[in-house]
Symmetry: C2
Subunit: 557 residues, 2 copies
Amino acid sequence: MAINLADKHQTTLDTAVRALHERTFFAHYPENPTPEVYGENADKEGREKYTSRLNNKFEELLQENPESWTGQEDSPYEQQPLGVKYPFFSPETLISRSEEAFHQWRKVKPADRAAILVESLERMKTRFFEIAYATMHTTGQAYMMSFQASGPHAADRALEAIASGYEEMTRFPESTEWEKPMGKYNLKLNKSWKAVPKGVALVIGCSTFPTWNTVPGMYASLVTGNPVIVKPHPKAVLPIAIVVAEVQKVLAENGLNPNICQLAVDAEDRLITKELAENPKVKLIDYTGGTEFGNYIESLKGKTVFTEKAGVNSIILDSVDDLDKVAQNLAFSVSLYSGQMCTAPQNFFIPEKGIKVGGETVPYEEVVQKLADAVTGLVNNPKAGPHILGAIQNPATTERVKGASTIGGNAVLTTCDFSNPMFANARTCSPVIYEVDASNKESYSRELFGPIMLIIKTKDTDQSIELASDMAREHGAISCGAYTTDPAVKEKIMDEMSLAGTPVSFNLTGGIFVNQNASFSDFHVTGGNPAGNASFTNPEFVIKRFTWVGFREPVVG
Amino acid sequence: MAINLADKHQTTLDTAVRALHERTFFAHYPENPTPEVYGENADKEGREKYTSRLNNKFEELLQENPESWTGQEDSPYEQQPLGVKYPFFSPETLISRSEEAFHQWRKVKPADRAAILVESLERMKTRFFEIAYATMHTTGQAYMMSFQASGPHAADRALEAIASGYEEMTRFPESTEWEKPMGKYNLKLNKSWKAVPKGVALVIGCSTFPTWNTVPGMYASLVTGNPVIVKPHPKAVLPIAIVVAEVQKVLAENGLNPNICQLAVDAEDRLITKELAENPKVKLIDYTGGTEFGNYIESLKGKTVFTEKAGVNSIILDSVDDLDKVAQNLAFSVSLYSGQMCTAPQNFFIPEKGIKVGGETVPYEEVVQKLADAVTGLVNNPKAGPHILGAIQNPATTERVKGASTIGGNAVLTTCDFSNPMFANARTCSPVIYEVDASNKESYSRELFGPIMLIIKTKDTDQSIELASDMAREHGAISCGAYTTDPAVKEKIMDEMSLAGTPVSFNLTGGIFVNQNASFSDFHVTGGNPAGNASFTNPEFVIKRFTWVGFREPVVG
């Protein structure tokens, strides 16, 4: 390598591997967009860079001879096209270039691959603000989330995948001498092992978290020696295009083929995801998005597939110390990015007899009203609302929220009109609340993507647990929040939800929310229910990307 | 636990985990059936115990209320029924008992589960000789292989699975305090994680290696907290029935439900494998056997499946030091257990211009003749032949060998008649050899189970490598032997076969054979080609059997 990147980044790698196993707080990339960390002009320069890209070709990629230029992004804040054009390549071109690059990349040692990839994250760090504005204007996330989720949090998830892959690939010896006592003599063999990458990898991105949900699979495949084709959602390309461009530059600087990591943008009249996914040369697929397409991806034969699809996330309310604090916390969770998160809660299970608050029973109706008031209070707080809700990525989400009355049940909060003082044209939508009965299972047994809160009146907490667990088992779940001061109830929730492969956050109030998962500590998605078959980042997420193959030969002499 | 098994076996477990990562020679169970290790009367007593079982009910299992008694085993050495009858249970009974046992077993800590399972192997050790005779008279293996493969080697593979599962389940902390600096204050969460087992596991055995191929999946599922239903091949029940009985006794002694590990024998008029496999409550399946049924198992939805199917194993002959030694080694490999091993070589690729022997070229025809002579020599050696060939498990194998002339090509060795001086009625068959041209791909692109050796005349070693690699990629391979004195050729073979997910043994002569894989050092099957999707024992083999689920809650005060 041009510079000795392995030396440069060994400490980062070792620290990251240790963090994976300690699972205490660890972040390599600071989440605070403060000038003290990122420099006085970083924000301004990032915004300018973003603005300068509008209505221009994105020419940073090192992929040669595009067949055409394409781009379909719109800003949810401006409701007008970004006008950025990306090079288009046919699936055949992408795959043949990937195959060619494979035979170079697979021969690079795991430690060197890991170092090259960490270096690319360091370059990405210098562009966090530009990525943040690109994220705002493709996903509709508010500024802070755009910065954190697409910048430092994504980079830490990528580092996590690199660290995990590096650890797994170096977990068995490269070679050893095997000596078996046979009585009169010893049998001696020289043995060696290779962690053999599976081949061309495809990573299919989603429209709401274009880097955060893409980089784990992308870096996991890369570190394990597989060339990657990154296929972003056509409505959210720019943030990940910047990351791919940085990876390509680091590859080229180190004498490697930049096609080891390619960007594959759909042409306006030609969607290429299925063609790529079905190509027999594609061996690995990472997918984030809707359930229907995810099930199709999982059904493809001869591929190793990692999915994150949709889930129905529950809140179980049993007993609390301070109901106001709980209501505020939950109002934030449903409002954050207008519920456009795979971890956002949807189904709130409340016993018909109410819940215990500091020993006293608060009736069901009062609990519901507290929740509705907390949502209204948050939405109408000009210092909070716009910064939490952001904008709506897809017009279909607004339609879904507006049409939520068709779910049936009682309307508790139906006004979703909300305007953003900073962006007059923003597509916005605040949470609506409907109340349904536990018996009306159909109404709450699918994901209603967006700020839709369903309150489900149950007989008691046991029924709440049973329903939350059934939902997770049958329809998937990525998060669960539970409020109880009773250790026996807590134990029961842990047991039932663990069998449904769903992590549980207990009694969250204050500045930590059920939607948030910390790199190096919280596994994101368990793989244990229909919400997805993969987990950021457990060992399975990397080891399925390569095969251990052994060689042996008698020791001569 | 009644006795403190965790203390008793901790050293064994720790040593086994270390051995997995050192991959030097390690065996916990001695493979030599010598009185010094196993006691003066062990062999005699084992034989007597075996004999006493014939024409009797097998009443050692702790599974209550059988619906009927069933048994279909025949001895390949005697060609008459064993007459052992096993309890029959319907799939519904087996699965509902398994579900019930699950909720007890999953709550036992991984270290305690591991200790209980190691204890069961120690009990199995006391019955190695009985298992050996049971294996001889169900599979047709010769005595030495029956002892080693079904006894110590199987127990070591089981210990390997226990060690790997124990390691993976204890690889992340049970709990930790997570503290995130937020500037003015710190966010503090108590976090904990559970490795949650997936549920009822089914292990489907094969007729040729009833314990060796069953215990890895069985112990891997058990150690990770899943209850197991062991479904043996109806023709090879007794060896694994003894193992299951020992597991059940240790479970019961420790106050646990013996149904944590059940034996499921087919009734004569009712095969139950598909009914078990398709039951939605069955979450994990381990399968060893033919490709067609294996593909069906792999196609089942909603299951995590581990398979070992069939492969087409190659020998590549390029250049050698001593052709006689090579021919003897290969003759042994094709003759061992009459080729009824998944690791037995079938396709021998030899360049039409011959091979280099110590610098001189030996013509193709002479190489073929040497191989044929070595096979004939071995078969006709009364001190070797019967002890290596054993008997034929399935009459269909004999038919296949006898009908091998229909493959096409030149007959080199067609006499497969062979009689065993110790068992006059034994079903036997020695290797046949046919010569086919490289262009006649169809003739050598499927597994011909049994002692069938195909010699494929190639243009040169490059074509040999290409064809061996194609075969592995398209039809699967579990082993590959290669003979070359040229480092560049060796490098090329390693590279090509590694991409085809096939381990390679180079230049084996003397007392080590391509068919043999050592526990704790050689991964058995890579999972990287159609011969199977699982590997004994890489981390993937155990981690897919459970899910990591996390819990968190603010630190109070």
